[in-house]
Symmetry: C2
């Protein structure tokens, strides 16, 4: 059969239109049918029409057709979906049985081949939410995720840094990559774009250079520059994991522990990573609510890493307030560049050298306990800044850019304190709401700057927040949120601080 674009209809659903003289291809249970294009399948809903298509045509909207990534001449066929082998295996979890390596591979193959309905995928993902997988199962899940999809390979050990949780303003990767690369280690870092947070590392670095590279380009460029900062989203790394995230985890807002581990480590496996420092932000609104939870989670990561061949060190970091002062792509890129010139905030500097130092210790460039000092030296000497400019250049950006040349939104507003007092708490979730209202992460010039942070004493009328927008309307919405929120609680002195962890010094 052939595709026909139905101009009358616009949708991006998995939905096709066929002529009713064809046999009904729908599986009576899920009500879905399967189309096959090239070597790929897709589970689709079916609509019948006598007038819009002929018996030999499969009607689709332009938007959905574009998603299928083929040409109008590509033959397409429709059939009843094969009964998934994976679903009876998923059901084993109802009786709390363990999955074998083969079990997991069968399920993941079914997901890869688009042979599971959303409901069946939910049954799979929820089973792991209700019952944690064993170490062995998580190992197989990690390897299974890495099995399908792109592999990026190098002829030398790859180092990497990864943060497991969305903490606003976390621009430290923009310092860690050049520090570690300047130390001579290979660190081609893939990172994500923001979904709900104000800016992902890829969004931030995109202010300065391109981030969208193909696997072969990364394999070519990275060994020369020693470091890269690229967007991982388009590389087709661990595509089964991405399907689970998109079809179940995001709509249901869930995140089973075993899947977090397998999701992160499978992408590291696919990009050749052998040494990894894991930033684990802890605090309200993060994935970790207590230090104990963090330590347990860290042990799981380290053990799965050991099983799949990745050396992992975990750093549980303080995440009660944003890292540094700047939030939003351009503001964060600016603050990162300032930090590389030695003019950044202490929290950004310290978190960066501590995490980079762990990788330096793993590489045995410095003895245990001296990595941070080694990293600090690279930063202070200007070598990291020089490396950063080299990376910007290799990724097609303007390597001579100065922090003050980075453009910010032209609509600006300062939120001022309404009384005297200590800043007791800066809520990450309110900061995220304000940033979203300002237009982050799509509007790169939008963002906010925390003029003062928790613990500081300020007088009535002192500016505490500065907002940037490119649209007047966005600025107004953000002002409304900021002025009406409990963003900053000024009553009394800060009584309690978590300060027993390395990164709580700011």
């Amino acid at each position: 059969m052939k595709f026909k674009i139905i101009e009358e209809l616009d949708y991006d659903e998995k939905l096709v239109i066929i002529h009713p003289s064809n046999p009904d291809p729908r599986d009576p249970v899920s009500n879905l049918a399967k189309i096959s294009v090239n070597q790929k399948q897709d589970l689709v809903k079916v609509i019948f029409s006598e007038s819009l298509v002929t018996k030999k045509e499969i009607g689709v909207s332009k938007s959905y057709f574009e998603k299928l990534n083929c040409t109008i001449k590509t033959p397409v066929s429709i059939s009843t979906r094969v009964k998934p082998k994976g679903y009876p295996i998923i059901k084993k979890k109802y009786e709390k049985q363990k999955w074998s390596k083969d079990d997991i591979q069968i399920i993941l193959d079914d997901i890869y081949n688009e042979n599971l309905s959303d409901l069946e995928m939910a049954a799979f993902t929820l089973s792991m939410q209700y019952e944690n997988l064993s170490m062995e199962e998580t190992e197989h899940l990690t390897k299974g995720f890495a099995y399908h999809g792109t592999k990026i390979e190098f002829n030398e050990p790859v180092y990497d840094k990864h943060s497991i949780g969305g903490i606003p303003g976390n621009k430290v990767s923009l310092l860690i990559v050049p520090i570690v690369a300047a130390a001579g280690l290979l660190i081609p870092k893939t990172s994500s774009r923001a979904i709900t947070s104000p800016s992902g590392t890829a969004d931030t670095f995109e202010v300065l250079a391109e981030v969208d590279f193909r696997a072969e380009e990364i394999q070519e460029i990275a060994p020369k520059t020693r470091g890269m900062l690229v967007w991982g989203g388009q590389l087709n790394l661990a595509p089964v994991d991405s399907k689970i995230i998109e079809r179940v985890e995001r709509p249901l807002n869930l995140d089973p522990e075993s899947v977090i581990i397998a999701s992160i480590l499978s992408k590291k496996l696919s990009t050749g990573v052998e040494h990894l420092v894991l930033d684990m932000p802890m605090g309200p609104g993060t994935k970790l609510e207590s230090k104990e939870e963090g330590v347990n989670f860290a042990h799981s990561f380290i053990e799965i890493g050991r099983r799949v061949g990745i050396e992992i060190d975990c750093a549980i970091t303080y995440a009660d307030q944003p890292v540094g002062h700047a939030i939003g792509p351009a503001l964060e890129a600016k603050e990162a560049l300032e930090s590389l010139t030695g003019k950044g905030p202490r929290s950004v500097h310290e978190k960066s050298i501590e995490l980079a130092g762990i990788l330096i210790e793993m590489a045995k460039l410095a003895p245990k306990g001296n990595g941070a000092a080694y990293a600090d030296e690279i930063l202070r000497s200007g070598k990291a800044l020089q490396k950063f400019r080299e990376i910007i250049d290799a990724q097609g950006g303007d390597s001579s850019i100065k922090p003050e040349e980075i453009e910010l939104g032209q609509y600006v507003y300062e939120v001022k304190s309404k009384k005297d007092g200590y800043i007791a708490h800066i809520s990450n979730s309110t900061i995220k709401s304000i940033a979203r209202a300002l237009g982050c992460p799509n509007d790169k010039k939008a963002g906010l700057y925390l003029i003062h942070k928790a613990g500081e004493f300020i007088k009535k009328g002192t500016p505490i927040l500065k907002l940037y927008a490119t649209k007047e309307n966005d600025l107004e919405n953000a002002i409304n949120i900021a002025e009406s929120s409990q963003l900053i609680n000024l009553e009394g002195m800060v009584l309690e601080r978590v300060s027993s962890f390395p990164y709580s010094k700011n």
Copy 2:
């Protein structure tokens, strides 16, 4: 806005077409929007079209429009769905927390108001599959299911019989209702149509009379006849439970224990039942695989019954082979009528008087242990047959019908034994497949008759099965299944029989 039927498209999906100049009403997480018609809501997928609808129209297919049960002039509006209050509560189960009465009501209200996506409904149902609810939670679930939907009320105690599992040929309700009604008790039995089994009680009785009655009609007729046999499906009893079954349990082929209990008992609550005998078939392919499991399940039913005000007795019954010989609506109706005249098979007779006897004992018409004899007497005296004819008459059927007048499929075939031996086992699942091929349950005249049952010695060439169909093609398909299946295993003597339970005597 107004409906517009889009003749060009045919589908029964929850899918509407709107003009792109309307604001996008879709919730970005589930990609669904909400339409409101009369007091009711529906979550729908959205397609945009500039040519098929105007800004003031909502396009739907004729099939979907008919499902909405309104007129073309009924105003309809589309909006973004309200964030469900129920979903955060569902997520409590990820941390193994208990649901309160209010928690459960909020979730069920969200389901009733069509405010949960299929994925969110799956999260709810699967949570109960992975973690059994407590007695208290199951009690609230039962009452919660009964809260929405029709209530049928009587001024006297209602008796009822219910079977929890699909065992082919289980026509005993057609005997139990007239026996119990002839004893003077009120038993307006609602039952289901078959989904995957050869015939539901409603399908079988429909061969003899109407089964589709409104609540008011049942309230009017039943007190006079004392018994009825009606289809429960259209009565809107516990509609939230029906949505869960249709949207999650059936597609995922799952059946959490707490939901089975709440599902059955909520419908009993809604129809005023105070005394219930529960038939719990046990054996391969049923819900119960061992006697222990059955006893535990029975205790849960009895306890939830106590909490919601229903006296329950459970009978774990032998379900290793079909009840009686006849399978399929017309064949079963015929065998039930024969049994009422004293000419039926022993297994049908015994199971019927045992279960009816339990209700008779509950009503204190006979002392414990004597109920079956009391029921047997009603059956043998002809009073049950007379009552059965009275019920057929009240439900608009031909009350003078004789068993031999019931029409069966004209295409007939006898499956013969290929060697001498004992019939070792008759597989319920193969019988179901043959029955489905013959056209059951929609083709009422289709079905099969077991000429010999397990344990009997037969000679080569003896007919063991008789097939009936109304279409030659159906018969051929069924013959293929029967001849190629392990339906009857003739090798050697039956070595083991489960015979410690009351109904394993056949």
